[in-house]
């Protein structure tokens, strides 16, 4: 029995429960935060190595056999996502040591952090479509509470939009699950994929596929369901924003990757054509929204949306190279995006604002932070030799090979506009002089209690450089996951192998 597939879910649950138990002690909660997420990261790396070796790792929870019980399944895509969750979870926990404040800790920041991570990992690893819904709800509950920590008016406003739209998406998701169950009589994803390949009425399947597209599209903030994201992501604590930006929408993207390769692969010309349009529109609206804003975290929030478009484009093209690109893009994006949000937290401590026009002069006082910002920012815009260049390169090349020239053109223009946005932040926050009339309240952030904010920023920046300079193993992992995604029979065989004979 291979334990590695369940530990990334069990460990955050246990760490969360223990940190509720020690709610009186700030020290115990912080220690559990770092140790718990550290242990989760370690086990997720173990899971990745095991999956790399065996292809698929399956565990039937409670020894109830598939397709009746709930299975946890790890394939290469899931394992990669779990490792990324571990990295971002650990980075956030370390950052929170100096970035979150006693008040949030008192209101249960750490237990909620662990619960959110458990929800994310559960959603990645589950092989049961209804269980996926349950993990989505776990994430929603935890993220809602994290979003309103602090209780400011803007946070409440953002949270209401966030919750309303996400509940709507959950309802559509549930409806889709009901229809799927009615059609196939099973909730196990491998079993659904297996049974649907024999169903003749592909029209009905396509209708259900579109319901899933809407449900996960809301979660992933894809066009035209993206508007909840820029309304809410700039309101909570920076550590929470970084966690959300890195992980939450990507769970929606992951779910799209999962169902549109494993389950809905009958009418690819139709369903994936729609995905391609969604991808192009998502890229474009996101980047245009970013160009119009002058608040640090709002700009970054809109860029999440446009980047989601690239990932969906990888899925929509549905060629081996495009899927490699999509997975590579997810890996690159999660690390870069979380890092940019974490940096916005450091500049906030320095200047006391997120508004670009009241900031400035940071490069002069703190050149190190300027460099640390440029690495993820230029990577996001896709400049070589950073990670974003290769991610974009693979996707665009896949687009040219698939002869989808118009979407390639959109992707290139969006890349250019991304560069414009990043340069805008650079010029306003780091390069220009401190604006006159604005009080220069630069606080020392390079020593003392703020030192923990730097550790994850440096760690993630180094990873960005490493993916760019030494991308071969990352590419290999993405290639293996793409190969598994395009051949769902491997997944079905791994889950139902014994049951089908």
């Amino acid at each position: 029995m291979n334990m590695s597939v369940a530990l990334p879910v069990i460990i955050p649950l246990l760490a969360g429960a223990l940190s509720v138990m020690f709610w009186r002690s700030h020290f115990a909660q912080r220690a559990l935060g770092v140790l718990g997420t550290g242990a989760m990261l370690a086990t997720s790396v173990w899971l990745l190595l095991e999956t790399w070796e065996h292809g698929h790792i399956v565990m039937e929870m409670g020894t109830w056999p598939a397709p009746f019980g709930i299975v946890l399944v790890s394939d290469m895509l899931a394992a990669i996502m779990v490792v990324l969750t571990g990295i971002i979870g650990f980075a956030t926990a370390v950052y929170s040591l100096s970035g979150i404040g006693k008040m949030s800790e008192k209101f249960g920041y750490y237990p909620l952090l662990h619960l959110l991570l458990a929800g994310v990992n559960g959603a990645m690893l589950t092989g049961d479509i209804f269980n996926l819904y349950v993990w989505f709800e776990v994430m929603l509950v935890a993220s809602f509470a994290l979003l309103i920590l602090g209780g400011e008016r803007a946070q409440m406003e953002g949270a209401i939009k966030y919750v309303t739209l996400n509940l709507l998406s959950s309802m559509i998701f549930l409806t889709a699950i009901g229809l799927t169950y009615g059609l196939t009589g099973t909730l196990n994803m491998a079993d659904i994929g297996d049974k649907l390949s024999t169903v003749e009425d592909t029209g009905l399947i396509t209708v259900i596929a579109m319901l899933y597209l809407v449900a996960f599209g809301v979660k992933a903030a894809a066009f035209p369901f993206f508007f909840w994201l820029p309304a809410s992501y700039h309101t909570p604590k920076v550590a929470v924003s970084a966690l959300f930006a890195g992980l939450l929408t990507k769970v929606g993207v992951y779910a799209l990757f999962r169902v549109f390769t494993l389950i809905f692969n009958q009418d690819v010309d139709y369903t994936h054509e729609i995905l391609l349009w969604v991808a192009a529109a998502t890229m474009l609206t996101g980047v245009l929204g970013a160009a119009a804003h002058y608040e640090f975290r709002r700009i970054l929030s809109f860029h999440i949306i446009s980047q989601i478009g690239y990932m969906i484009m990888g899925l929509a093209l549905y060629t081996p190279l495009a899927l490699v690109g999509g997975v590579f893009y997810i890996m690159h994006h999660i690390i870069v995006k979380a890092n940019l949000f974490l940096i916005s937290g450091i500049t906030f401590v320095m200047k006391g604002t997120h508004e670009l026009k009241y900031m400035g002069g940071i490069y002069r006082t703190n050149p190190m932070l300027g460099v640390l910002f440029l690495i993820p920012a230029l990577s996001l815009a896709g400049l070589p030799p950073l990670s974003g260049f290769f991610a974009k390169f693979i996707i665009i090349r896949a687009g040219i090979e698939a002869e989808a020239y118009w979407v390639v053109a959109v992707a290139l223009v969006v890349g250019l506009l991304t560069l414009y946005s990043m340069i805008k932040i650079w010029a306003e926050v780091f390069w220009k002089a401190q604006p006159e009339g604005v009080e220069d309240e630069i606080r020392d952030v390079s020593s003392g209690p703020m030192i923990w904010m730097w550790v994850p920023v440096i760690m993630l920046a180094l990873m960005t450089v490493a993916i760019g300079l030494y991308g071969e193993p990352i590419y290999q992992m993405a290639a293996m996951s793409a190969e598994q995604l395009l051949d769902p029979s491997q997944y079905i065989e791994a889950v139902l192998g014994e049951a089908r004979q």
Binding site: I10, L13, A17, V20, M21, W23, M61, G62
Partner: protein, 141 residues
């Protein structure tokens, strides 16, 4: 918050132990028959809330003895821990483990990790309901 009703206060005193006993009964009955940790926890929480209505917050906290947040934490830990024994025996997480004892007078008793999980749920429900109720009651004062 207190309603100053003699009837409610007298009844509250008698109902509290009865309801708590009933909640434990529901908890233990739950394995094969209707009942279980969730409904049992709700009944127990309702018992304390009834006491809160008939008396006041201070005496409700006193009769509870522990902070509801501690119950919440302990329950969560129990629920997660119940998943672990199977792993040490080389089975999948959450696989139920059963232990049977023969105790004089009571006869055969079956204990299991399922029961530990249910007790965990019981405590989590009491803890979360009472955390909410006591905070609301305090906010109203």
């Amino acid at each position: 918050m207190s309603m100053h009703s003699l009837i409610l206060r007298t009844a509250g005193h008698f109902l509290l132990p009865l309801l708590l006993l009933f909640s434990v009964f529901l908890l233990l009955r739950g394995h094969d028959e209707p009942g279980g940790g969730f409904i049992g926890g709700l009944v127990a929480a309702a018992a304390i809330v009834l006491y809160l209505f008939s008396m006041d917050i201070r005496s409700a906290r006193k009769v509870l003895r522990v902070d509801p947040r501690d119950l919440l934490g302990a329950g969560m830990v129990l629920a997660v821990v119940s998943a672990l024994p199977a792993a040490f025996l080389g089975q999948a997480f959450f696989t139920a483990q059963w232990w049977e004892f023969t105790v004089p007078v009571f006869g055969e008793i079956k204990l299991s990790t399922v029961l530990i999980f249910d007790i965990g749920v019981y405590l989590v429900v009491i803890g979360s309901v009472l955390t909410i109720m006591l905070n609301l009651a305090e906010a109203e004062d």
